[in-house]
Subunit: 397 residues, 2 copies
Amino acid sequence: MMQGPLEGIKVLDLSRVLAGPFCCMLLGDMGAEVVKVERTERGDDVRIVGPWVGGESLYFLMMNRNKLGVTLNFRHPEGPSLLKSLVRQADVLVENFRAGTMEKMGCGYEELKKVNPRLIMASISGFGQDGPYKDYTCYDMIAQAMSGHMEMTGDPEGPPMTTGSFLIDYSTALLALVGIMGALRAREHTGLGQRVDVALFDTAASFLVTAIPEYLLFGAKTTRRGNRDRYCAPANLFRAKDGRWVFIAAATDALFPRLLKVMGREEVLQDPRFATNEARMQHIEEGEALLEAWVRPQTADEVVAKVRGAGLPCAKVATIEEVVTDPQLKHRGMLVEMDHPAAGRVPMHGLNIHFSETPGKIRRPPPVLGQHNDEVYGRWLNLDASGVARLKAEGVI
Amino acid sequence: MMQGPLEGIKVLDLSRVLAGPFCCMLLGDMGAEVVKVERTERGDDVRIVGPWVGGESLYFLMMNRNKLGVTLNFRHPEGPSLLKSLVRQADVLVENFRAGTMEKMGCGYEELKKVNPRLIMASISGFGQDGPYKDYTCYDMIAQAMSGHMEMTGDPEGPPMTTGSFLIDYSTALLALVGIMGALRAREHTGLGQRVDVALFDTAASFLVTAIPEYLLFGAKTTRRGNRDRYCAPANLFRAKDGRWVFIAAATDALFPRLLKVMGREEVLQDPRFATNEARMQHIEEGEALLEAWVRPQTADEVVAKVRGAGLPCAKVATIEEVVTDPQLKHRGMLVEMDHPAAGRVPMHGLNIHFSETPGKIRRPPPVLGQHNDEVYGRWLNLDASGVARLKAEGVI
């Protein structure tokens, strides 16, 4: 049985911080041999970001399981040629430096493909490898700000809002992964690798979907709507007696009558203000007021039991405390533990794709800096102990 | 040259609404032949959701380019066997019915793999195919509520907040795509297909990352923080003279001094409250007050020009009006137009992965209901015109 669907694929992970490491972690989850190549001395930028567990950055621990770790001094005169030696053995290289950095090192795609024409090089950046913004610095939040996602998120009366986690980083990591796997398939046919170029800003723009044509065709400026659905009603958040919030969606003409039945208010359906989705959208405040009045005297759990019991989409807004003990997430293997030599048992997210025949696995914890220098430089480059020792002594690794 | 990296792959898209159709659209963007199989008469649920362009649902148009369209009456006695005939010709089937629906139709994975052992069946659902919640109804917002993402998004003083677009739906679509492409690779080795099972709730949980161990190791309840970064300061939104919002991040010990230089306030670095990130996190209000006072008398564009000019991450929160004319997005091909026979020229998002050698392409607009019945049933099943006519006459398609 395969060790995951990517068994046999060798990956060089030159990336730092978030989108690149997350992409490469998923490559590792699926069975690829991923070697994280970090600069000497400091390594990945997030190694110095707390909080800490047994001296290790929690942030780093969450992004780098299923990788071997080596160091490489990119600024040493021998650095680029050592990298090229690794590239010769690799199927995939992932980097998320600023556009042009690899080229400045003499390791741009055009150079690397001379060394290994089968190489797939995935570049993850803020704005892409070309265009007027290519040199701008970018983070997830910058992409959310510039793409309209912040404009669309939050309370209509309040400021634009970013998401509570780095969803554009994670999504861009997934698009890079799709690109890499597409390029692997293309290579089966052509025998050649290629460059895959994804960008946080592109990702965010591609998720605007209806907002683009709504403006260009109708002049409609999609903006903040709080927790209300944009197209259907009722679908919003309501506060229960115990102060907890409940999301209720009964926004189709099939579901709304079922909600009214749960509420014991079936006569409302006779009211032309609520008879169709179009009418409900026009009288959205009045319709939500009915739900508010019904929810308010009950606890959130009572409301959820009734509405969900009728087969309607409904949920209490969970706290992190509740999420980390959620029985469904436990059942699905989404809450797991990993053993780390320094940090001990570390709880973390599980594998987010379930393959029936070639499941992935957490095979190893994140490396400490340079942990696998001997193994990887030995095995990949056929260097003996004295060869690796020389690289260390001369500061190349 | 290949028509995208998935040329030659045949996909049956049985999915409706959002995550499934988005996944299959990307399969089509990458060159797969995607046949959208819709129920007779009404088709995909979103065909009846406005707004409308030339009688077509804009929502549907945004999710279904690069697909052929056929109808199939799943409740007709001949429906399941007709579906199985299509499955025999397919590489991939994507569905997002509620867990168990395919089995009730007699078309569960165990049945379908008897018909075609090479089939890859990807199931996208709210909570997955098993576990205590498998029968609950789910949407993007339900997953955001139950996974902690709403708890973590929004103003600390305000209610939990959902994202302004369906980011968990899109991400789950991407994970399904990764799963499908992983299974295609595994099939190269094993000769057999498999089931891929992804869920909105799993996806959202896997993006919590540090929030899980922070609670389980330290008891820290990650919650709403507005637009502040959780680990570094300063990184927040500031309001300019013209009422526009600017995001500024200068939250590392390398970047912060550069921001102070731009502000002409280099002496602040001598203040022990701001000398290190740890100190800045402890005095976050005071540090942000310095930035607020500097931003407030300037326009957003002035602030961005100065801060970005110094190479620091900085952005104005863009409106949709600005996004749809953004020069970088235009340059990157992220804002394109598609010709549709009924809707005319429809502006939409472009292809969000750039392949250097096997680029994808918008080859066809979304189908009208049953548009390609003759072509697909003819070509895939080798039916002649009278065979297809019989299926139509008997209400099978």
